[in-house]
């Protein structure tokens, strides 16, 4: 089971309902989903895998997603990861636009996210 064909997508989202919707949309795009409901879990997961895409919520219960973004940009094994910022704070989104690959302002449409994920699928 360690061999898997599908690329990994990391979803960092504290709201469980949104997490379920994002999981459904990205899974439909053909990804294997890793889910982190807080920053600590996200750091743990990032230490053991290199996701193809990372859907990152900036507003987390144990800290700002900005730290995770900075970590991703500093760590060598994540240099190919595509970061999709997902936030409701447009000012914050503006500030981090340069360091991320995509910025989605909440609410994110199910089909929009699915289509984007499909587009970003490695080799796909």
């Amino acid at each position: 089971m360690s061999e898997t064909k599908n690329p990994i997508a990391l979803i960092v989202e504290d709201d469980s309902k949104l997490a379920e919707i994002f999981t459904q949309a990205i899974k439909m795009a053909g990804y294997e989903i890793r889910l982190a409901a807080n920053a600590q879990k996200a750091f743990d997961l990032l230490a053991v895998c290199a996701p193809a895409i990372i859907l990152l919520d900036l507003h987390l219960p144990d800290g700002s997603g900005e730290k995770i973004l900075i970590h991703i940009r500093q760590v060598d094994h994540l240099k190919n990861s595509i970061v999709i910022l997902n936030t409701s704070d447009s000012i914050m989104a503006d500030a981090l636009r340069e360091q991320s690959d995509f910025v989605l302002l909440k609410p994110v449409s199910f089909s929009q996210l699915r289509d984007l994920a499909v587009r970003l699928r490695p080799g796909g």
Binding site: D15, K17, I21, P107, V108, F110
Partner: protein, 709 residues
């Protein structure tokens, strides 16, 4: 006879001793006018007496005649000396010039010379008969010149008597009694002469005249010296009287004007001769106290006004009774002092004092140490300290200790260097409450640089300061409220978007049958949920946009985008609504713009969505058309045209105002959409135009500059 002659010699010798004594007394007061003339007269009489003693006592006719000649060193000049003295003493001294004195001295000088040379011409003495025995006076016959000398002497002595009498008649009490004493002395030689003339002389050959003149001069000397007022001669008194700046009027006991000085004549604009002799009531009715009989009211004073308006003057009248030596009132003297200027100055000072007292500002005057000397009513009102309490205290009693020590140091440094200090103080009233005052301190600097006083003018600015404070607080509160509003909007944004995300996500999943098959009604229900969510989202975005514009936090990020993607994005949001209302959604994109345009696609999408939402809201049938085109070489436009109810002309100006809806167009909505469009387009250096006709439809056209690629 010998006995009589011997007694007479004793008298003469006594007269010489008295004369010597008089001269020593007069020497002390020799600077008094007339003193030298009196000494001269005494000298002449003394020479006569001296010569006469030896004339009588000599036992040889040669010596008797020689001593007779010595007597004539004095005899001819006695009358001239007495005349000169009375002339000067009665104030006529200026008449006696050297020339006149020289002319008057001719006759006595000739007499003296003729006496010395009588044996050659006998003009003075026609005969000389020696007494027998020789102890006794020589008997002489009168020559022609003898009578000239007598006439001359009588003439001058008569004039001298006249001077003394006129002085006694017109002068002051004191001088009058002096003059009377002198006149008495003057009478003695006349009596002696009368006795001699009528032949009542008990010793016919004996001449009493030197003794009589000695007594005359004693009287003169007493009159001249006894009162000890030698420095103030009648003339001096008269000069003073004439030179006085105050007007002086003298009336007698019956109220007749007897004297008025030049200043007095000036006041009444009449000459002395027009007034003297008239009753005081005619000239000066204001003087009512002239008839006062009470000597205790030695000086009474009253004020009176004289003259007409422009030249009107105010005088102070001092009434002084004039008393004789027994203390009886014989007349009155009025001294009139012009106090017009003084009164004016006093009135000015009163006016200034009243103004200072009545001033609205608190005024404090301190000495050079800062101790309060005076304060006004407003100061009491301001501080609660009455003037009586404040006087003598230092203004530091007002200190509230709410300002740093340096502030007061600066104040003192400024005023002690002679400069004006202006500033605001927080002071404490007597009751302990604090107040704000604006103060100006002006040091009063003398010509030598010394500061004598400080004048502080204070204004209560408490209410102004309170108002400023309230305004500042209100401003602070408004800023706080604004910050809270921004904060609130940020939370609302987050808290709305997250659940909206769930609603829209699940709705879409149902609609797209991700969660399993749905029937058409269920799919329609999901679409309705999505559409409503989109409306809600548009509103939330507008609210956030408005807040960001208001707080200046909006950032425009122009980037390349495809116009058809912009239109398609909006189309997908409004698609369900268009279909539901049975409308047609058309888009016409000019071919030259179909590639890429530069602009902030996020906010441009908001602009287009708002315009389309607005069009759909007011259109029940027909179509909504979106056009993107180039009106000219440097601009591009987005036009949204509908076939709705249109906007009446009077409302067209207000449609872009926030939270405002045109009457009759209320279709649910905040009225925020068009306001955001207008503000965003302004920020993008563009403009919005509206063309509309009621019943036909509206067309909103946004025109923006084409940004370089």
């Amino acid at each position: 006879m010998t006995v009589a002659f011997s007694i007479y010699i004793i008298f003469l010798a006594a007269g010489i001793i008295i004369s010597a004594f008089m001269v020593t007394r007069l020497w002390a007061i020799r600077k008094t006018a007339g003193a030298y003339q009196l000494v001269w007269a005494i000298f002449c009489v003394t020479v006569w007496s001296f010569g006469y003693i030896f004339e009588i006592a000599s036992e040889s006719s040669f010596y008797k005649i020689a001593w007779m000649k010595v007597e004539y060193i004095g005899i001819p000049f006695i009358s001239l000396a007495i005349f000169s003295f009375t002339l000067i003493y009665s104030g006529r001294g200026q008449w006696l010039t050297r020339t006149r004195l020289g002319l008057l001295a001719i006759i006595p000088t000739v007499t003296f010379l003729l006496a010395a040379t009588n044996e050659f011409h006998h003009l003075l003495w026609s005969t000389i008969a020696m007494p027998s025995p020789l102890f006794g006076p020589v008997a002489v016959g009168h020559g022609a010149w003898y009578n000239v000398n007598v006439a001359y002497s009588y003439g001058l002595v008569l004039l001298a008597t006249y001077f003394l009498i006129s002085l006694a008649a017109s002068g002051h009490n004191l001088y009058r009694s002096q003059a009377i004493i002198m006149i008495t002395g003057m009478v003695i030689p006349w009596i002696g002469n009368f006795i001699y003339m009528v032949g009542l002389n008990p010793v016919p050959t004996l001449d009493w005249t030197p003794l009589a003149f000695t007594l005359t001069l004693v009287a003169f000397e007493i009159g001249f010296a006894r009162f000890g007022l030698m420095d103030i001669l009648p003339i001096a008194q008269s000069s003073a009287f004439n030179a006085m700046r105050d007007g002086i009027i003298v009336v007698d006991g019956r109220g007749r004007i007897v004297e008025i000085n030049p200043s007095g004549q000036n006041i009444f604009q009449q000459r002395a001769d027009q007034m003297i002799g008239k009753h005081v009531q005619e000239i000066f009715p204001e003087w009512t106290s002239w008839s006062s009989e009470t000597a205790t009211a030695f000086e009474t004073s009253q004020e009176f006004v004289y003259g007409d308006a422009p030249a009107q003057r105010t005088f102070n009248l001092r009434n002084t009774p004039i008393m004789d030596r027994r203390g009886r009132i014989t007349g009155h003297m009025a001294i009139l002092t012009d106090i017009t200027d003084q009164k004016f100055a006093q009135a000015q000072m009163r006016l200034q004092a009243t103004a200072l007292e009545a001033a609205e500002n608190g005024i404090v005057i301190t000495d050079d140490k800062g101790n309060i000397q005076w304060s006004n009513k407003a100061f009491t009102h301001l501080t609660g300290y009455a003037r009586e309490e404040a006087i003598g205290k230092n203004p530091r009693i007002l200190k509230s200790f709410k300002q740093p020590v340096e502030y007061y140091q600066d104040l003192w440094q400024t005023v002690l260097s002679g400069k004006v200090w202006r500033g605001e103080l927080i002071n404490r009233r007597k009751d302990g409450s604090d107040y704000y005052e604006e103060m100006t301190i002006t040091p009063l600097v003398q010509a030598n640089g010394a500061i004598t006083n400080f004048i502080a003018i204070k204004q209560d600015i408490t209410s102004r300061r309170m108002a400023e404070e309230q305004l500042r607080q209100a401003h602070e509160e408004a800023l706080q409220a604004n910050r809270m509003k921004t904060q609130l909007l940020a939370s609302v944004s987050h808290d709305l978007r997250t659940p909206l995300g769930a609603i829209m996500g699940y709705s879409e999943m149902i609609q797209k049958e991700i969660l399993g098959p749905v029937n058409p009604d269920q799919r329609n229900a999901a679409s309705e949920i999505l559409d409503s969510s989109n409306q809600l989202l548009a509103f939330v975005n507008n609210l956030i946009g408005q807040a960001q514009i208001e707080t200046g936090k909006i950032i425009l990020r122009p980037e390349l985008f495809k116009p058809d993607e912009l239109v398609d994005g909006v189309r997908s949001i409004v698609g369900f609504m268009v279909k539901k209302k049975g409308l047609e959604f058309r888009s016409e994109i000019a071919p030259e713009l179909s590639g890429q345009i530069k602009g902030d696609s996020y906010w441009l999408k908001q602009v287009l969505l708002n315009l389309v939402n607005n069009a759909l809201k007011f259109t029940e049938s027909g179509s909504v058309t979106v056009r993107i085109f180039k009106p000219d070489g440097s601009h591009w436009s987005i036009q949204v045209e509908d076939t709705g109810i249109g906007i009446p002309p009077e409302a067209q100006k207000t449609v872009f105002e926030a939270f405002r809806q045109v009457e009759g167009r209320a279709r649910g909505g905040s009225g925020l959409g068009l306001a955001i469009v207008s503000q965003l387009i302004t920020l993008m250096d563009g403009k919005v135009q509206l063309e509309s006709e009621v019943g036909k439809g509206s067309a909103f056209t946004v025109t923006l500059p084409l940004l370089g690629l």
